[in-house]
Point group: C2
Chain length 253, copies 2
């Protein structure tokens, strides 16, 4: 954090206001989330060593920018889909002993609550290979379904982010943010199943998504796969914008 401060040496971090990012990635199998290992936590329990990446907010920084700064500092990614989940501010949200330690380390008034404004973001997993940073001793992708506990109230935040993502993807085709430029319908299909946590009929899924006319068939096939190769598609942004303007509001899965 020190080096961050030096970049902005004339600015003050607000000791009672932070942002946390739920960064989702998709590995073609399941939904993952990027967590940092704080290196502290109870001995009996590794789970609460893990936390969402987050940081305090500068006094003159707007919330969206703070979130994208956190994301950028950790992953070096820019222009990432970001959406606010909400504010979390239970006075006792930092009640676990291991969390208190951390609180002291950032020199916040220990008696005052830290409010966090949570965001979720969708990134192409290929674009970021986790590595340590100024920010985190270590950062890694974890399967969302394997997570049952996190530091602070981060588990609760994760669940809230998942809920928002589920709701949102039914209305707006966000999936492309989680896939590489080129992807197959099978991959997109699996992504929707992973997010919605239910299986979707293959033929119905294909018919529906193709009917939206927001995919461009690249006339290019997979190579080297031990089965019938799939066509590659890419997201057609122009058609998507047309569609949004004429007011589609249901992706209806």
């Amino acid at each position: 954090m020190d080096n961050i401060k030096s970049i902005n040496s004339n600015l003050e971090l607000n000791p009672n206001l932070s942002t946390d990012c739920v960064i989702f990635g998709f590995d073609f199998e399941k939904l993952n989330v990027l967590l940092i290992d704080r290196g502290i936590g109870s001995e009996s329990n590794n789970a609460n060593r893990l936390a969402l990446p987050g940081n305090l907010i500068y006094d003159n920084e707007n919330l969206d920018m703070a979130a994208s700064r956190v994301l950028n500092e950790l992953t070096e990614l820019k222009d990432i889909y970001l959406e606010q989940v909400g504010a979390f501010g239970d006075p006792d949200r930092i009640s676990k002993e291991s969390d208190q330690e951390w609180l002291k380390s950032i020199r916040a008034k220990p008696e005052a609550r830290v409010i966090t404004v949570a965001y979720y973001s969708l990134v192409k997993m290929d674009d970021y290979a986790p590595h340590a940073s100024s920010f985190a001793k270590s950062a890694d992708w974890y399967a969302v379904n394997d997570i049952h506990e996190l530091a602070f109230d981060h588990f609760e935040i994760l669940q809230a982010a998942l809920k928002k993502l589920k709701e949102k993807i039914r209305i707006q085709p966000l999936g492309f943010n989680l896939l590489p430029e080129k992807f197959t319908l099978g991959q997109l299909h699996k992504l929707y199943e992973a997010i919605l946590e239910k299986s979707l009929d293959k033929r119905n899924f294909r018919r529906k998504i193709l009917k939206l006319d927001i995919l461009t068939n690249l006339d290019e096939k997979q190579v080297g796969v031990p089965h019938k190769p799939s066509q590659f598609f890419m997201f057609n942004e122009v058609n998507y914008k047309k569609l949004s303007e004429t007011g589609f509001d249901n992706f209806g899965f």
Copy 2:
């Protein structure tokens, strides 16, 4: 505000964290929102004298409770539907001159930003006759559609709340919170039209809402109306809960 503080004299208000409530009401014609007149604002412009009711948050108070405290102090209502809209914290959100004045009056560090966590709530208009309070020189209902400007970034917050309400009512039948115990289908119909800002076919609306089986026909008619009297209905909470559990997720307007 002083008398609030005296009630909680051992507690500290956080000068940089507030909550604002978008309190919606329905007068059988249109959607209304409860605004307070701060009594200050530019002379040329009355609009930015008006603001959402809000207040600073106590250091040890959770966010939801702070919002319902604000609502309760203003209206004396309890157990009101409340939902978080999100956090608003542009450093320049208090940039208008008239707003700066207000800032000084609450003795916040003028250089620091005030983050606000916004909520929206749905109240039965009959249950609250606006009156002055410790809280506001005056409070009144205003038609949502007539509002084009508010103090601070409150107009933006209002728009965000409206958007959330629209999204939510498509998924969950919230309308009952805005109507008296007994209401007619015509009133409910108008309410949906007001919130969704579009007209809905009368027959289709009735069929759909009745099919949900969450309304109890009270076998009681309007009296004294200069037209065919309507049946009164009430919300059937038991059936609604059954419905929620078996997982309805679409009210589909």
